[in-house]
Symmetry: C2
Subunit: 437 residues, 2 copies
Amino acid sequence: MAEKLKPPRGFRDFPPEVAILRREVISRVVRVFERYGFDPLDTPSVEYWETLAGKYGEEAESRLIWRFTDPWSGREYALRYDLTVPLARFIAGRPDIGLPFKRYHIGPVWRHEEPQRGRYREFYQCDADIVGSPYPEADAEIINLTVDALRELGFTEFKVKLNDRRLLAGVFEEELGLTDPLRVYRIIDKLDKIGLEGVMRELSKTGLGEPLVGRIAEIISHRGEPLEELSSLCAKHGGNPRVSEACKHLEGTVELLNDTSSVELDMSLVRGLDYYTGPIIEVVLEKPRIGSVAGGGRYDNLVELFTGKHTPATGVSLGIERLIDAGIELGIYSVSRKTVTQVQVIVLDWSLLKHAWATVKTLRDAGINTRIDMARANEDSQRRKARKLEVPLLVYVGAEEVKNNTKTIYDTRTGERKVVPQEELVKTVKEMLAKTP
Amino acid sequence: MAEKLKPPRGFRDFPPEVAILRREVISRVVRVFERYGFDPLDTPSVEYWETLAGKYGEEAESRLIWRFTDPWSGREYALRYDLTVPLARFIAGRPDIGLPFKRYHIGPVWRHEEPQRGRYREFYQCDADIVGSPYPEADAEIINLTVDALRELGFTEFKVKLNDRRLLAGVFEEELGLTDPLRVYRIIDKLDKIGLEGVMRELSKTGLGEPLVGRIAEIISHRGEPLEELSSLCAKHGGNPRVSEACKHLEGTVELLNDTSSVELDMSLVRGLDYYTGPIIEVVLEKPRIGSVAGGGRYDNLVELFTGKHTPATGVSLGIERLIDAGIELGIYSVSRKTVTQVQVIVLDWSLLKHAWATVKTLRDAGINTRIDMARANEDSQRRKARKLEVPLLVYVGAEEVKNNTKTIYDTRTGERKVVPQEELVKTVKEMLAKTP
């Protein structure tokens, strides 16, 4: 395809068969979010640059945010990088909103990534957040919602990894005395790719002594049943106030989970964004291995950056792009539904257009999604097009049908053919559509 | 509100009560579009600048398109200005798509407008287009769909103005010999604001002689029942091939309209975008007078700009921002639904959290949108918050309820109060919700 006919690199067109699937996936996510009593909120695609600046961390700040200057006003704008910082800005601007505030937001975000499989420059996030609660039940609600959403989307084999920024800070900074923990986190983050030995090798290269590398390796190997791992961690490092605070909070959270079988504490989970302050989660599918499909955590200081007023918050973001890719790979989803059309009216003789047009109207007025060819094609071509789109029913309008005041209905799925009086058309079409062959 | 807490000028936050209404309006539009057999298509928010350049006309090109240069690649990008040019680019890139192609697309577009009432820098368009049909039935389908959508949205008093670019060209350029018709169109476009006398005065100022101004005034006064106006126009100017072609096409279109009572031919309708080639339409509400709420037309040459291959197309764009504003003003819509939550579980004693949590789960598992307070507030504060959001039902969990294995349900709309055994909770809640007081 000529370059000028493509969307920009890293951006995508979604033709009907993909758009229909995406919409179905999104509507299932909405169903779960609303069942949990989250309300929709929309914020704009564009923010002032200064709204986003200083919230995400170095990489996003310097490289990943799409920012631009308006030549007329000279102001700097940016396309939103996630849905969380705009939420914090919204909350900060509405002191009367009433907390706790539960909202969901589903929409595109933009990142200046190097495009690759599963990584795009425009992609949808499905976020649910609770603002105004410092309690473990808010974090538990977010995890329960995440697990329910994944189940509703058809996934059964996944792991919810759980950790806490305070555990990381308490153990790595305070207990081990690491002065540059961010550098250590970045190496730990590669665990999936390079394995524990690889992580240890890289840690040694940064100049850390062997005993310290050994202790780090031991700590990040804490993964497993959350309450067990927490009690073992707390036994070792519970004297540290941040560790004991985190242990207590996470225990309170885990006790309110509907199902802990898919949840594990994982001390190697670090997550990239700067704004997290407490529990953090990440969901990975057991197969296919396409990386994290959801992530989130507590960010108690983000609203405060705008207002100076402490406002605790926690939330999750589902990445439906990867979930859809994974669902297709697993055979849970297919891009097989090519049209929303339920009936194609086939015109056997174009001098009967007005008669056919009236039939189309009758069907549409009854709520049936109906098409009629717009190119005055011959019967064969009309039928071929309808079958290519897998339209379930064809309704024929020809001289015979007009003369007898009947319609011929053909089910493309079963081969069944019926001739019915005009007045029974809608009823019969509905009955035939209701049968899923 | 401090500047830094606001969305950028001309951009908007939609809090839940507005987002809920917008979603309802959009879902009604989708229902109509799908009934007409249009399928969803999504194209990205960002396009290469050269994709949009040279399609809309001078004003959009020079001032209204949000464009920016990527500092890394040096490439010029733009936020889409409408949904039509991206559609043309998509079609041009898919020679195997199968024509006629019917798609709808609902999403935001961006224009660098000076913000004012009803005019925003980011706003939603709801577009339906048919690509690949040169026939009047395609234009008729678009008009029927537009009228049905407005009805489905609750509007009854509106006018669909109809004209044809070929009528304008045939009469103004060829018959009247206007060498700069665009300048004349721009003056005619002010008719609603300055009246016929104002238009004539401004035309005279451009140096046009009195007889010519008089003939223009006469021509643009052609408005009324479409077939009558067409036959009168054709009688006068039908010798002109463009006029006669347009008359024939429009007559074919009007004959296929389900309801012509709201349609009028209006020779003063010019429309702004460069890409229109045939019939053009615009919908205005009779009241409130908030300008055009839908517009569209035929653009037979747009795809050709990308491919060199002639590909006729026609479509419409509904402006839901103004429709929502108008609907609220008319009292058709209200922003009264503040939450999707159906039940708030009220916790009388926070030591019973786990019991209440289980009740919440029971309700959610039954598909009922349920909340529980996340701030461990006292009963009074929980109730006040729920009533402020107008949550229909409250379900109380207290020592009494736990002891007797019952639940107390309170209907905030009617004041009705019921104590039911736990096992009848879901059934009773569903029954009470089904009653709309």
